[in-house]
Amino acid sequence: MEGAFIYGTTINDEEVVKDFRAFVTTHKVDKNEEDATYMKQLRKVWEQQEDKAKGIKFSVEGVHVHQFSPTLYDHLVSYPTEVVPIFDRELWSLSTKELDVEPEELGTCQVQIFNLLDKDCRIMRCMNPTDIERLIMVKGIVIRCSDLTPDMNAAIFRCTTEDCKNEVKIVLNHWTIEEPTKCEMCGASHSFQIIHNDCGFTDRQVLKLQETPELVPDGETPQNVAIVVFDDLVNQVRPGDRVQVTGIYRAAPVQQVRNWRMRSSVYRTYLDAIALEYSKAQRVEAAPNMDNYGLTQASQLPKLSDERDLDPMTFSEDEINWNKRMRELGQETDAEGNRTIIRKLIQSFAPSIFEEDEVKKGLLCQLFGGTPKPISSKGRCRPEINTLLCGDPSTAKSQLLQYSYKLAPRGIYTSGKGSSAVGLTASINKDPVTKELVLESGALVLSDRGLCCIDEFDKMDENARAILHEVMEQQTVSVAKSGIVCSLNARTAILASANPTDSVYNPKLSVVENIKLPKNLMTRFDLIWLMLDKRNRDTDHRLAMHLLSMYSEGGQAARVDPEVDAEAFRRYVTFARQWVFPTLSDEAAATLESSYMDLRNQGSREVITATPRILESLIRLSESLAKMELRETVRAADVHEAVRLLKAATYAAAVDPETGLIDWEQLIVGVSAGKRKRMKDLETLLQELMAERGEAMREDAVKAALNEKLGERKEQLLNDAEFSSALRAAEQAGVLRRHMKMIEPAGPLAS
């Protein structure tokens, strides 16, 4: 083999040069491309650089190098200190040829490698001595940036011997500059002195990178690592940015001990950055998207049969095994051939909470969510299901919230009591270090594509609630402050819990009256569950027995362990959300239509039992039910189940205390249809009465006459509140006039 091996390595200089040249000049990332990818890029980069003497930065994807030659890639990551300079040099000589310019006119080329293979990505806490001097990639949040410091890249030494004054330029090599020991001109040894003014310097900055929260194991604290950046990478990022750094992991002895005989054995480790990838937008997004919905085109949605989740190119063996297990879990059937997963999930969801299986099922639907629809001209239809739990204190509402929050892929838990509008949405703050304005995401933005659990919803202040309107329908949060106007995505499902205003739920009043929440906000919840503290000796007895069965210390009364453990549960939810996108079958669509019509026609003309919003809810619920079983088509059975759930949830919440019918209007307007009908009846009666008598009457006489009429119809007699509100209504309608406790008909009556 020709060429020399680089000292201390197994790489052959010539080989690397040859391979790299071939890579740049011939490699096509996309086979159908005409030109070699990087040749094209090289020309473009030089074109954009006006001052050719300044040189260029040239980005190269590690993955492409691997595509071209695994050996070259291997050399690159194993010996970056040697190989990267070769790349730089070769790129430069390629450039001189390509541009056909004098070598003196052309500045240096710097190759910036990024996007390495997964095997070279490190989690901070897993970096170890074998990674030293290797090219690796780490992710993290920037927590501190140092001031800029000049770093010497070339030194000028001058010989101190009289009459000699020989100057030598030493360029940085292997991150050190060695002082020449002997002067070539006069032969004196150790005669050199550094001339600081003439030395070349580059900017240098030290960043501190901390692990992102999702990478920190439970019960441990995040670690951090120092990143040294040079030149154009300086001042690129600010504290709070999420970055991905490709660089060389280095260890330098701690020069803390002055005594030369004693040297500390400890090394300081840091990463010499070669490339920084970051996105300013992520400052707000806070987390990279884990579930990649193809939102723009329906055709992009993955199918389970594609087995993209089992692709060894993108997933590690461990992940693939998990995904396989998830697929199996979803397919399991009982003796009759029915899938068992939903039952298992319900059994494993919050086992410490007694019964309430319907509520649990509803919460499961929320965890899985509907199918994201492409944004079309028809507008956007949210896939997220919003849930409200309301009812008596100490009915384990908070516990249910906690369970959902822990299982959701991106769950945020907040209490309405403490959270202001700002804490929920986003705030603009001055960073204490940089003094720059920084947009900090609140709970709703942080739980984008996740679940935002709001405890004590009723205690939230008005402003904060107003924001939820936008979030729950438009799925965005708008911020306009300090000259920053922006709209942030908050595609989050909301799970709220609320206590009744009088601390105990009053069954005689409607939900709206019980929890003083704006009605229009109420209608934005797909499911509203009433959790009443029923003090019933029988159920209480069973409740105690159930809770006690959780404590099986003595070995007897063996407790029932959840069938799906927490880890598998979490993974199952994530898996289903990432890979399953159910669509409505024709049969399901037909069922949906008829069910909706049924709901709408239920009851009398006056009672609105269903609104188009409910139709949307039904679609979402049926989709989530199919998703739970990893099915890609929604069946009629799912729709039936969705209707049943909706009824189960809303029956209690929206049932009219007087008529016993489901009444959505009550939620919307707050007054039940039954009551409204009576008010209308009273008004007509009053009108009739006025028409009959045609003269002014005393108030109590009117009341007596009305009661007489009601008595004839065998209806409930008037109470004072009803009477006065009927009078007021009639007066407003122009039917009568009130004057000094006397009531007179108002002008000619329009019948």
Binding site: E220, S264, L548
Partner: protein
């Protein structure tokens, strides 16, 4: 003195020199050697090793073997160090394991990547809130292994006599087991080296900083290296490194500057050979869980409880003296005897918190005093708008110094925390105060310590027993059980309390050091459920949570009576306590919901 104690590094090097081959192993059974030679399996031998908790670091010869009982206050990033070097002259490998510096005066060749090793580094502080008697007991080196088999419910004096130590001074309060002077006896002479102003020893309870206690940076190797977690109680046996030549020479290291390399005179380094975990530490049972086998404990439990009634009444008597209320005393004792003993589907079993309301005085110091007499770890934290807003409560990461600044809530597992609201008055909480209150909330209800890492909080599991004392009902409303105090004329026989005190401590140790098994026969379960259904009809505040509280309460009361099965009779007495408590609550018009 064994060479293993006086010159452990010499022993380690000799063992290393015996290794042959091209590349020496990273481990050469040096740990096993120490365990074997010093017979550390035997608890008494373990106790003979000088302990940094009892003696000041400067009184122990540097580079000798020491013990250290501590709380992991901060977990540093694993440290990279040159583990292996080649002595060019002798053509021999040299190890730097268990050392801070490279051996001087030799021509050493760096082996590059191959010579590097990693070790775990932890900042450790003495257990916060360790009560004086517990410190003294640990210093005396009395172990229950030696004493458990002996007489029951002994007095302090008789225990001293149990310890067979040649150099023991009779009747000394803290008998020294090595030739060093016990630190408690020393006048607190401030030495410049210990002036911690510039660095701050970072003790969770600020008032403990002036007690001349030692903080250490502990370094661990091999499979122990990265095994410790924040807020673990541990005991380390290792090589003490106090090296004057490593003192900071006045110039701060270049950025990134951090507080991770303070002078060894201020914060000694300890290179660990043996690590023992001490969850729910108790000086009477200072063993790691492996040693506390079921059989051993059952034996000690049976034997130690001969004078059980005496022990129990001593504890009740002591608490009554402060509370003047037998019912409240029962509840406090039950709290002290409780601990989390299991988890099921995300819920901790056995945990509950107590609020003594209608406290007549302006401070709960007297109650703290009584509690401190009974348990080894207790902290008294006054809660007012000012202390909440002003003090450090939750640990906070200081990114400039690169360390976790300790907060008052960063305690050792099993600590009894007395949250004193007696002086709570009108006031405004600032942002810090609100955060502190939230941190307190998650500690009391979820047993997690929230550490502030700037952009987000990191939850660390931490189990502590929380006791709120307040004039009205606790403002924070976090406690599961509220006992309105009704002081009565009770007289306590202090003589019998004194006589039974040691036994009472031992009783609590046996109950809490390791979760005792406890069971409820089916008939009692049925009865329990019936009673629950009944009382729920009568009291608004009885809900789902009550079932858990009753279960934990019954367990604790039972165990303090030395019973491991809930009898119907005992259940009735627990229920009677609850009925009385609920009656008092109705009487004082307290509604929790």
């Amino acid at each position: 003195m064994a060479r293993e104690i006086s010159n452990p590094l010499g022993v380690i090097d000799e063992l290393f020199a015996r290794c042959t081959g091209d590349k020496p192993p990273s481990e050469w059974q040096e740990k096993a050697h120490f365990v074997k030679t010093l017979e550390l399996e035997n608890e008494e031998n373990f106790a003979r090793v000088p302990c940094l908790n009892d003696v000041l670091a400067e009184e122990i010869p540097p580079f000798s073997l020491v013990r250290y009982r501590c709380l992991v206050q901060d977990v540093f990033e694993p440290e990279l160090y040159s583990m292996l070097l080649l002595d060019r002259e002798a053509q021999r490998f040299v190890t730097t394991k268990y050392r801070e510096t490279l051996p001087g005066g030799k021509d050493l060749q760096d082996l590059g990547r191959n010579g590097l090793g990693t070790r775990g580094a932890y900042y450790c502080v003495p257990l916060p809130g360790e009560t004086p008697w517990a410190k003294a007991a640990a210093a005396a080196g009395r172990t229950a292994a030696a004493s458990a088999g002996q007489s029951q419910a002994r007095t302090k004096r008789s225990r001293d006599e149990d310890v067979d130590m040649a150099d023991m001074e009779p009747a000394a309060e803290a008998a020294p087991q090595v030739s060093q002077k016990p630190r408690q006896k020393q006048a607190p002479v401030p030495t410049p080296a210990r002036n911690s102003d510039s660095f701050g020893l970072n003790f969770p309870l600020p008032w403990e900083e002036d007690q001349r206690a030692t903080a250490c940076i502990v370094k661990l190797y091999d499979e122990d290296a990265e095994s410790l977690r924040l807020c673990e109680s541990i005991e380390i046996l290792g090589v003490l490194c106090v090296d004057p030549s490593m003192a900071n020479l006045g110039d701060a290291p270049s950025w990134p500057y951090d507080a991770r390399s303070p002078s060894t005179a201020l914060v000694p380094r300890l290179h660990g050979l043996v690590v023992r975990r001490l969850p729910f530490y108790h000086p009477a049972l200072p063993f790691s869980p492996a040693f506390l086998s079921e059989a051993r404990l059952a034996q000690a439990y049976q034997r130690g409880l001969g004078g059980l009634q005496q022990a129990r009444s001593a504890a009740i008597g002591l608490l009554q003296q402060s509370l003047k209320d037998p019912l409240a005393a029962e509840y406090v004792l039950a709290l002290l005897a409780s601990r989390v003993y299991g988890h099921t589907s995300g819920m901790a079993l056995g945990q509950w918190s107590l609020n003594i309301s209608h406290w007549p005085e302006d401070t709960a110091k007297s109650l703290h005093g009584a509690v401190s007499q009974l348990v080894p770890l207790a902290a008294h934290l006054p809660l007012t708008a000012e202390t909440l807003s002003g003090g450090r409560w939750k640990p906070r990461k200081d990114f400039e110094a690169n360390r976790l600044v300790a907060g008052k809530l960063q305690l050792a597992p099993g600590t009894t925390v007395l949250l004193d609201e007696a002086q709570m008055a009108q006031g405004t909480l600032n942002e810090v105060g609100v955060r502190a209150a939230q941190a307190l909330n998650s500690l009391v209800t979820d047993q997690t310590l929230q550490c502030d890492f700037n952009s987000y909080d990191v939850p660390i599991p931490l189990e502590v027993n929380c006791l709120f004392v307040s004039k009205g009902v606790s403002i924070l409303k976090l406690a599961d059980v509220v006992v309105p105090l009704q002081p009565q004329n009770v007289t306590t026989d202090m003589a019998s309390v004194g006589a039974g005190l040691d036994a009472a401590r031992f009783l609590l140790a046996l109950i809490t050091r390791q979760a005792r098994p406890f069971s409820m026969p089916e008939e009692v379960t049925a009865r329990f459920s019936e009673d629950f259904a009944q009382i729920r009809q009568e009291h608004q505040d009885v809900g789902q949570r009550t079932v858990h509280v009753w279960r934990s309460l019954a367990r604790a009361v039972c165990l303090t009576h030395g019973e491991e099965v809930l009898s119907l009779e005992r259940w009735n007495s627990v229920l009677a306590m609850e009925r009385e408590r609920l009656r008092r609550m109705t009487e004082s018009g307290i509604q929790m919901a």
